[in-house]
């Protein structure tokens, strides 16, 4: 379970990223975080993985207050809260299999088990035949699928994705989001940050809309109505 309680984030140079943001995400939920650039989506993702700390308020992940977490506990948090990145963050000198296996290596999983689970993961993202390819030999959509495979191979409790479709064509973007939905159906909590409302509406999931570092709407499952939110955003 994820809880944000009146979370404010102000950077050292005085720039405000989030202001009094509050929401809850239950275990097994699928949530879209939407909003224009600078709305605070990435800041929420970073706070959830303790890549930074909030200036005010409380961030809880599985009842653990991240501000009070010791630095040595951070790697353990990041294993439970996996992340897919817009720029994939893959190692270019390693094959697809080695990149995916990295998530298991850091857990100290035996080599045999790594091979087995990587193969399984490749199957889940439909890249069985490209395990020995290097990232430079893959398309954008395939790269993102490798990123997803790496994120899910360690069976995380929560999967975050920061603009995972940002670099993809519409078709690949849809396929990637479908993959996230499939992962969610296995019980993993999935939070996807995106600004692609059209794509979001194809899935009819819960949508938390952000603007200027504030939550402007929290829509339950169903079609997300951008117009109403736009009006609310302008008022705010």
């Amino acid at each position: 379970m994820i809880v944000f309680q009146k979370v404010t984030k102000v950077f050292p140079d005085g720039t405000g990223a989030l202001s009094q943001v509050s929401f809850q995400i239950k275990k097994g939920e699928f949530v879209f975080l939407i909003g224009p650039s600078g709305a605070g989506k990435t800041s929420i993702m970073k706070l959830l993985r303790r890549e930074m700390l909030s200036s005010e308020g409380t961030v809880l992940v599985n009842d653990k207050n991240l501000s009070e977490m010791e630095i040595k506990e951070v790697p353990l948090l990041r294993r439970k809260v996996s992340m897919c990145f817009q720029d994939f963050k893959l190692l270019m000198d390693r094959t697809v299999m080695e990149n995916i296996g990295l998530s298991l290596e850091v857990l100290g999983v035996e080599e045999e088990e790594v091979e087995k689970r990587v193969a399984e993961s490749l199957k889940n993202v439909n890249l069985e035949k490209k395990g020995n390819f290097f990232p430079l030999q893959l398309s954008g959509g395939e790269l993102q699928r490798v990123g997803i495979a790496r994120a899910i191979v360690s069976k995380p409790e929560i999967l975050l994705a920061d603009e995972p479709t940002g670099n993809l064509d519409p078709e690949s973007a849809f396929e990637v989001l479908k993959l996230f939905k499939e992962i969610n159906l296995t019980g993993t909590t999935v939070v996807v940050a995106t600004h692609n409302v059209e794509l979001v509406n194809k899935f009819e999931e819960r949508v938390i809309a952000l603007a200027n570092g504030k939550v402007v709407s929290d829509s339950p499952k169903g079609k997300y109505e951008l117009v109403k939110v736009e009006k609310r955003r302008k008022k705010s």
Partner: protein, 291 residues
């Protein structure tokens, strides 16, 4: 990719950095080896002199002492309580020793017999500082022609060993520090070139130790390679100079140095090399891997 694969990839990708690190540690450990051998040799030489008769009183050539006279001298020396060992060498025994030493030279054997060799009394003291007193007792005995006294040699040798150890400790400390610094710089460069990979590893939940391990292992391998090469060099140097040293040392039974001693030295060098690498690698990762 397991730890060894990661480490070997890291090593293969930076050949010049490897070379610099290994050459520096080799130099340091070669100096360590040379000073260790010097200290070992000096200590062995000192032991030789300490266990050998430290005062020898030679009597007039061809004249043996009567048993009563020998017993009398021994009693005087025993009375001091400072004598460790007492040996009387008769002219016949002196001749036997002479013949044994010169058995390969018939001409010398023909020229000398017991009539021109002196009898002698050889003693050693329990403590070197008491040698003077024992020597004085021997000097005043009837028939003593000459007294040979090793105290100066032993004192000089003791001082030499202390100096070698001090100089060695100074030079080795300096070189060890230099090696550690070189390892820190080289591992630091490797960390800098892998910044992106390290960032990704952190993002997927790698612990600090997981990230550090290949770097520390690389640094330790530098140290181990350096120590092995240094040991090989020092052994070759020793073997090469053995004939010259054996000639210079004369009767002192120091050479050849046993393989066991050399293996112990290799063990020590490997431990020191690994330690230099580990400390350098640890400090480098501590310094450059701060989040």
């Amino acid at each position: 990719m397991n730890l060894w694969q990661k480490t070997s990839t890291q090593i293969r990708r930076s050949p010049f950095q490897n070379l610099a690190a290994i050459m520096t540690t080799t130099l340091t450990l070669l100096v360590v080896a040379v000073f260790s051998l010097l200290s070992f040799g000096s200590i062995q030489i000192l032991k030789y002199f300490e266990t050998a008769p430290q005062v020898i009183a030679f009597f007039k050539p061809g004249e043996d002492l009567a048993d009563v006279a020998i017993a009398n001298i021994r009693a005087q020396l025993d009375k001091t309580g400072k004598m460790n060992d007492f040996t009387y060498v008769s002219t016949r025994e002196a001749e036997a020793i002479y013949k044994d030493k010169n058995k390969d030279n018939p001409l010398l054997l023909e020229l000398v017999d017991f009539n021109i060799l002196p009898a002698s009394i050889e003693i050693s003291a329990k403590d070197l500082k008491d040698l003077g007193e024992l020597k004085n007792i021997l000097s005043v005995q009837e028939g003593v022609d000459e007294v040979v006294f090793y105290e100066d040699v032993i004192n000089s040798l003791s001082n030499w060993i202390v100096s070698v150890k001090r100089l060695g400790a100074g030079v080795i400390s300096y070189l060890v520090l230099e090696s550690v610094l070189v390892v820190i710089v080289i591992i630091g460069m490797q960390i800098a070139s892998k910044r992106e990979e390290i960032q990704i590893l952190r993002l997927i939940g790698a612990t600090d130790w997981f990230i550090r391990k290949p770097f520390i292992l690389t640094a330790m391998l530098y140290g181990l390679a350096g120590s092995f090469i240094a040991w090989g060099f020092s052994y070759l140097l020793l073997l090469y100079s053995t004939p010259f040293l054996a000639n210079w040392l004369g009767d002192i039974p120091l050479l050849p140095i046993s393989i066991l001693v050399m293996l112990i030295m290799l063990g020590g060098e490997l431990i020191l090399g690994a330690l230099i690498g580990a400390v350098g690698g640890f400090l480098a990762t501590h310094r450059f891997l701060k989040e």
